[in-house]
Symmetry: C2
Subunit: 500 residues, 2 copies
């Protein structure tokens, strides 16, 4: 009898200890979750239903990955993951979600690869090779430009049945076995830069440029992205009789196309331009940028969002090498949106660009891949709400991270940091608009339990951290809320039978 | 004249602005560095000279990697990096450094692969295959055990010239192309577990076991590691006439070997044992562990450091599945040293093991690879000074991380977290003692500027976070300080011409 009493006692104590454990555990996990990006959002009843659908899809894919890690798209290179993502129910739902704005994309790599490729079928496009590298240019005749041995591209196609596959390989980083082709970050950056040179003459032909930029907006629109802030080097446009335009005229084209697009698609809210020329060792080139910026500020005060400098950070000088020009830009009252810390070389010039960007008052940071290694930068970024533009697929293709689950933005999401998700250069890796990157962030970087609240917060962040003046921002957010409400209703109608 | 004055004025303003920038930048970087692990250590003048030598070597290798990323060992898989590391001056210096203690290693994988391989040349070792998997056992004759078709291993060697390479492939994860062979984490874990089964009969033969464990201590000693805390499942030992020993007798062997080793190498300070059996779905097996633990506590109160549970976290039940047994262990006053968060599956059962480990009062955490995704765990780990046992090469070989520069411990180091560096299962990947992992941590995970202070702090941490009672810990630290002083003097003598 005593032993029975003792057993019951032990059991009671054990149960009460266990009950404490489970209560504590629930509280712990809830407390921790309350720090996550999006956790402050309260979903409406309708949104909760949409969330149930989204999470049903997410759990299916996530649990399948947990059991069969080989099937999980975000742990694979995007070149392998892309066809898997296209079949994903999560991806299809993400496409429908009003995602707000794209805040980090580059002028001549905004559009889908397929659209760019189709432009090579235009008449009057010639091709040649300089030092083994493909160039393209629209000409009236092969004799119009004597610097290269030009041949009509459509003739090359007829002469060589393998020409198209060669052409594709010269305008896209895609390869069946990326880890074999690109051994390290410099390999892929070199290929990346070569592609820019190759497509330059194709894209900067004024008629292509107009259509190309229009299509870039259209693809965002179709992906339910309603506003764009894009960086550009202002390449000089040209036309068939050889006229070269000025940087200011390039911006004029942007403005015209944006206006035209907004007229045709009134739900689209426009685009702003961040002048982001290539870091250059030639000091006078750097001063020329400042002059261009002055012109832009006078001629396109509303379109111009700010200034940045581009190029592979590891191999170029740090931001602080251009302090003098930067100070002049600052004196003009122009905001900075610096690329910084797009590296995994810790404590190097590229890594410390994060510090420079902060000290120079950057409004957002492009990539900041290295930010979690910098506690003081992390602190200031949160305190001053400096948004970090996270571009997951770009980081993977440029070999900073292999498996998305190791992306440092997981820590930023867990700690409620001001981040936005963007696409960088989708043209170069068969991307298209924002949904692929949202998929990688939602499925690969964030945890299994991250839900519609995270997506909603990321969309809201893209508007809150845009460069627009407060009043315009408010209009944008209000319009986005309308879109969001429609989205919720549409999903509930379309996926009615998926509600658990 | 006015324009000259204006120019001078502009220049002065620019210079003063710039001067501010550089002052602010220096302060920022210093402030940030003051949060880094090791930053509170003040080096003596002699240590500063050693640091100069170390950093000269480090900068050479690091800068070479920055220019030629393909040459950088820590961004490559250890199977490729190992020969590069062996040539490294940093590595050679790290070997000499008194590194304190190894706090995370597993019973039958502590020794170098080469030593284990050599044991297969012992007489009376038989081999056979069960379901295609190699088994080994010491027998008096092939007929002694009828469960398998045993053949003398040395005969198999003579019959088949390729047998040795087959044998090596069965007792080591090494392969020329790891990314091709191990497609995902489950593949490599399966291979990992198969090796354990294969080597079990080789290692648990009592004479091998004694020599093997002795050699494990010797290799640590030669690597200037003076104390060990190791986890073990307590495999049953056997001898040539087939006698099977008990778990308690296995621990008795450990104790004898440790005493013998300490007698022969008095600078070695001993070892303690963490009983860490395999998580098992059979509830009675789990209760048996508790009984064994009771016996251990009575018979080896000084040798027993605590309790843990092992096995791949993703595919086994979480810690909380064994709450009842764990509570019984806790009631005995035995400390926990749980494996937790050795995963990159965020928000899953394996990931939440981190929360369970914390709630159950773990003294240290094994791996905690996922910890930076858990802000509350991070907070508590720092507040309660729960050391994280970081095993860089293990994490890489088990496919959690590809490039060491993406290891989450970089964030832990940058933020001054209580971490120690350890080696997990070096036998399985051609590791040896601690220096390879120290190399990966120092060159790959920490930043370029991390110096001797980090190494010293890591060594100190390994003693401070050991399970020893405070008085013994103090003796250990004091002896380590003596070793450290000798090391400093030796380096200054040996590398006199390297001092810049």
């Amino acid at each position: 009898m005593l032993s029975l009493i003792k057993s019951v006692l032990v059991l009671t104590v054990a149960l009460s200890v266990c009950a404490d454990f489970w209560t504590d555990r629930d509280k712990f996990i809830k407390d921790e979750e309350s720090q996550m990006l999006g956790s402050s959002i309260n979903l409406t009843d309708k949104e909760k239903k949409v969330n149930q659908i989204l999470m049903k899809f997410k759990y299916n894919e996530f649990d399948d990955g947990f059991l069969n890690p080989g099937s999980f798209a975000p742990s694979q290179h995007f070149f392998q993951a892309r066809p898997l993502i296209q079949k994903s129910d999560v991806y299809k739902l993400l496409q429908k979600i009003p995602k707000g704005a794209a805040l980090h994309g580059h002028d001549i790599a905004l559009v889908s690869s397929e659209y760019l490729y189709k432009q090579t079928y235009r008449n009057s496009l010639y091709a040649c090779r300089i030092n083994g590298q493909l160039r393209m240019r629209f000409l009236q005749s092969s004799q119009q430009d004597k610097q290269c041995n030009w041949t009509l591209l459509n003739v090359l196609r007829i002469l060589d049945p393998s020409y198209d596959s060669y052409l594709r390989s010269q305008i896209n980083l895609y390869t069946e076995n990326p880890k074999q082709k690109y051994k390290n970050i410099n390999d892929v950056w070199n290929a990346f830069q070569n592609i820019f040179f190759t497509i330059m003459g194709l894209v900067t032909y004024k008629p292509v440029f107009e259509d190309y930029f229009y299509q870039s907006l259209k693809e965002l629109y179709d992906d339910n992205v309603m506003y764009l802030e894009f960086r550009g080097t202002l390449p000089l446009l040209y036309d068939l009789n050889g006229t070269e335009y000025t940087p200011i005229q390039t911006v004029a084209v942007y403005k015209e196309v944006i206006e035209k697009f907004k007229t045709e698609y009134p739900r689209f809210k426009g685009a702003r331009f961040i002048y982001a020329p290539l870091k250059d060792d030639n000091n006078s080139t750097m001063y020329k940028y400042v002059e261009i910026l002055k012109d832009l500020k006078v001629n396109f005060p509303d379109l111009l969002a700010g200034f940045d400098l581009v190029g592979q950070e590891d191999t170029r000088k740090p931001i602080n090498a251009y302090l003098d020009q930067i100070k002049q830009v600052s004196a003009m009252g122009i905001d900075f949106f610096f690329h910084a810390g797009e590296t995994n070389w810790y404590d190097t010039s590229s890594d410390f660009n994060l510090v420079d960007a902060i000290l120079l008052g950057t409004k957002r940071i492009g990539h900041a891949y290295a930010v979690t290694k910098h506690p003081l930068v992390v602190e200031i970024v949160k305190e001053r709400q400096i948004a970090i533009e996270v571009c997951p697929i770009s980081n993977q293709v440029l070999l900073l991270v292999s498996d998305m689950r190791n992306h440092p933005a997981a820590t930023l999401i867990a700690n409620g940091f001001p981040i936005v998700i963007s696409y960088d250069d989708p043209t170069l890796w068969n991307g298209k608009a924002l949904s692929y990157d949202f998929y990688m962030a939602f499925m690969g970087i964030a945890g299994k339990e991250a839900d519609l609240r995270l997506i909603k917060q990321l969309a809201l962040n893209s508007l809150l951290f845009s460069s627009l003046p407060a009043d315009q921002k408010q209009v944008l957010i209000s319009d986005w809320e309308t879109d969001w409400t429609s989205f919720v209703d549409n999903v509930l109608a379309t996926y009615a039978n998926e509600i658990p």
